[in-house]
C-alpha cells in the first residue's frame, strides 16, 4: 500500500522534528490553562467555552503542522523522487493528509482528560454538547489540514505556506461577520461559508447533516485542488 508508506513516512518525520512536539506542548498548556480559568471563574461544569477557544488555538496551530507537507518536498527536491515513482498525486496527498489528521486526532484525544475530570466531579454532566463539540472539532481539523495541504502544495517555502494557511483559514473563520453589514443573499452565502458559524452549531449540541456535509466537501475540495496542483507539475 503506497498510501500507507507515505503515511508512515510522514508520521516518522513528524516525530523526528521538534515542530510536532512544540505544537503539542503549547496547545496542551494553553488548553489546560483555559480549562482552569474557565472552571474556577464560572464554577459551571460546561465544556463549551473550552472547545470554543480550542478551535481557535487549533486554527493557529494547524499551519505549523501542515506547512512542510509538500513545501519541504519541493524545497529539498524529494518531490522529484515522489513524482518519478509509480505513485499518483492522489495517493501522495491522501497519505500526507491522513498522517497529519492522525496527529491532529491524537492532539484532540489528549484533551479528553477535561471532560473526564468534569465527569468525575460534576453530577449529571450533559454529555450531548461535549460529544457533538468533539465531532465538530474533528471535522474542523480535517478542513484546516486540507486547506493547509493546498497551501503547502503551491510553494516551496514553509513560511509562505503557513501564512497562506493562516490567512485563508482566518478569512473562512470570520466570513460570518459579513452578515452584520450585508443584509442580503451575499451576506447569507458568506456566513454559510464560515467555518466558525458552522462549528458553533456543533458546540450547541447540534449535529446537523448539512454542517457535516459542508466540512466534508470543504476538506475534499482543498485536497482535490492540492492533487491538481501536484499533477500540474507534470503537464506544465
Amino acid at each position: 500500500m503506497k498510501i500507507l508508506a507515505i503515511l508512515r513516512k510522514e508520521l516518522q518525520t513528524y516525530f523526528y522534528s521538534p515542530a510536532a512536539y512544540i505544537v503539542f506542548g503549547s496547545f496542551l498548556l494553553i488548553v489546560g490553562y483555559l480549562f482552569w480559568i474557565v472552571l474556577v471563574s464560572s464554577k459551571v461544569a460546561n465544556l463549551e467555552p473550552l472547545l470554543y477557544n480550542a478551535a481557535f488555538i487549533l486554527l493557529l496551530a494547524s499551519p505549523v503542522l501542515t506547512m512542510r507537507l509538500v513545501s519541504e518536498e519541493r524545497r529539498s527536491n524529494t518531490i522529484e523522487l515522489l513524482l518519478t515513482s509509480p505513485i499518483s498525486p492522489v495517493e501522495i496527498v491522501i497519505g500526507k493528509f491522513l498522517a497529519c489528521f492522525l496527529l491532529y486526532l491524537i492532539l484532540i484525544g489528549l484533551t479528553l482528560q477535561y471532560p473526564a475530570i468534569l465527569h468525575a466531579y460534576a453530577q449529571n454532566l450533559d454529555w450531548g454538547p461535549i460529544i457533538s463539540g468533539y465531532i465538530g472539532l474533528i471535522l474542523l481539523g480535517a478542513a484546516f489540514i486540507a486547506f493547509g495541504m493546498f497551501a503547502s502544495s503551491v510553494t516551496e517555502n514553509q513560511v509562505i505556506s503557513a501564512m497562506i494557511t493562516f490567512g485563508g483559514l482566518l478569512l473562512f473563520w470570520i466570513f460570518g461577520w459579513a452578515k452584520l453589514v450585508l443584509d442580503n443573499t451575499l451576506g447569507e452565502v458568506m456566513s454559510r461559508l464560515s467555518l466558525f458559524e458552522r462549528y458553533q452549531e456543533f458546540l450547541k449540541g447540534m449535529v446537523d447533516s448539512g454542517n457535516v456535509v459542508f466540512f466534508l466537501i470543504f476538506t475534499i475540495t482543498w485536497l482535490f485542488i492540492a492533487t491538481r496542483v501536484l499533477e500540474s507539475d507534470r503537464w506544465r
Binding site: 508512515r8 513516512k9 516518522q12 518525520t13 527536491n77 522529484e80 518519478t84 509509480p86 507539475d233
Partner: protein
Amino acid sequence: MIELQNVTKYYGNFRALDGISFSVAKGEVLGLLGPNGAGKTTAMRILTCFLPATSGRATVAGYDVFEDSIEVRRRLGYLPETPPLYPEMTVKSYLKFIADIREVPSSKQRARLDQVVVRTALGDHLDRVIGTLSKGFRQRVGLAQALLHDPEVLILDEPTVGLDPNQIIEIRGLIQDLAADHTIILSTHILPEVSMTCKRVVIINEGRIVAVDTVENLEGKGGQTTRYKIGLKPVGLDWKNAIEGVPGARIEHETVKGDLVHFDLCLPPEGGYEKVFQAVVAKGHVFVEITPARASLEEVFLRLTRSEENGASEKEVAA
C-alpha cells in the same frame, strides 16, 4: 529501449532543448555530455516523467513518457543531481519507504534490500540518520534508491559531482558494474568519466545535439597531434636533436628536475613514435616514463561546444 524524437522544451520563452533525438539500445551505457546549463538535466527529467516535453516524443521500453507515464516510472531508476533524501530518516527506513512506493512486493523487499546494500556498500550504515552522512554516502544511498526495484533503465544525473577522488572511483566502479545488466543514461561534464564508463556519447550544447558518436571515434576526431608524456634521463645534451630530427615531432612543456627531463612529445597524426623512441635510445638516453596522453576528448568537447559561437575567432587562433 530509450528513444527521443525531436524533443523540444521551453521554460517560458527560454528554449532549454531544441529538437533533441537520440536512442539508447538495451544494455547500452550512453553518456550525456555537455557544459552546465546545456539541457542534460532537462532531457533526463523528460525521460523520467518529471517534466513534460513542449513538443516531440520520448519513449522508454516502448511506453510513451506522457501517455503511459506510470509504466515508464515502474521501469526507471533515477538518481537526480541532488540525491532525493529525507535527512531525518535512517538509511534503513528510507530504503524501506522507497521499496514501498516503488512497488517492490513485500515478500521480496528483504532480498532486494540486502542485494542493494551489498552493491552500494552501505551495510554498516543502515541505522544511521541520513542527515549525518557524508556526501559520498548520501550519493550511495541515492544510488541504492534508484536500484532498489531492479529497474531495467537507470538514469543518473551527474552521479559523481561533488565527491572526492576516492568516492568518484568507487561510484564509477559501481556504474561499470551495473552496466552489465542495465540500460544506463549518465550525464556528466567530466570527460574521463565518459571514456571510462560509456560506449557512446551524446554531446549537447545550448539545447542542441552537437555530436553523437562512440568514444573512440570522438577521440579520433580530437586533435591533429598524438601526445605522449615523457620522462627522460638524458646522457649529454643532444637528446633534443634526437627527437626533433624526426619529421613532425615537437617538444612542449619541458621541465628539468635533477637529472631528469619531463616534456610532452607531440607527434603528427600519422604517428612516428617508433622512430623517435629508437633515435633516443640509440643515443644512450634512458626513458623513465612514457604515457600516451590522449586526453583529446577534452579537445573534441571544447571544439564542438564552442565552435558555433566562436567559430570565426577560433580559426584565427588556429591560423
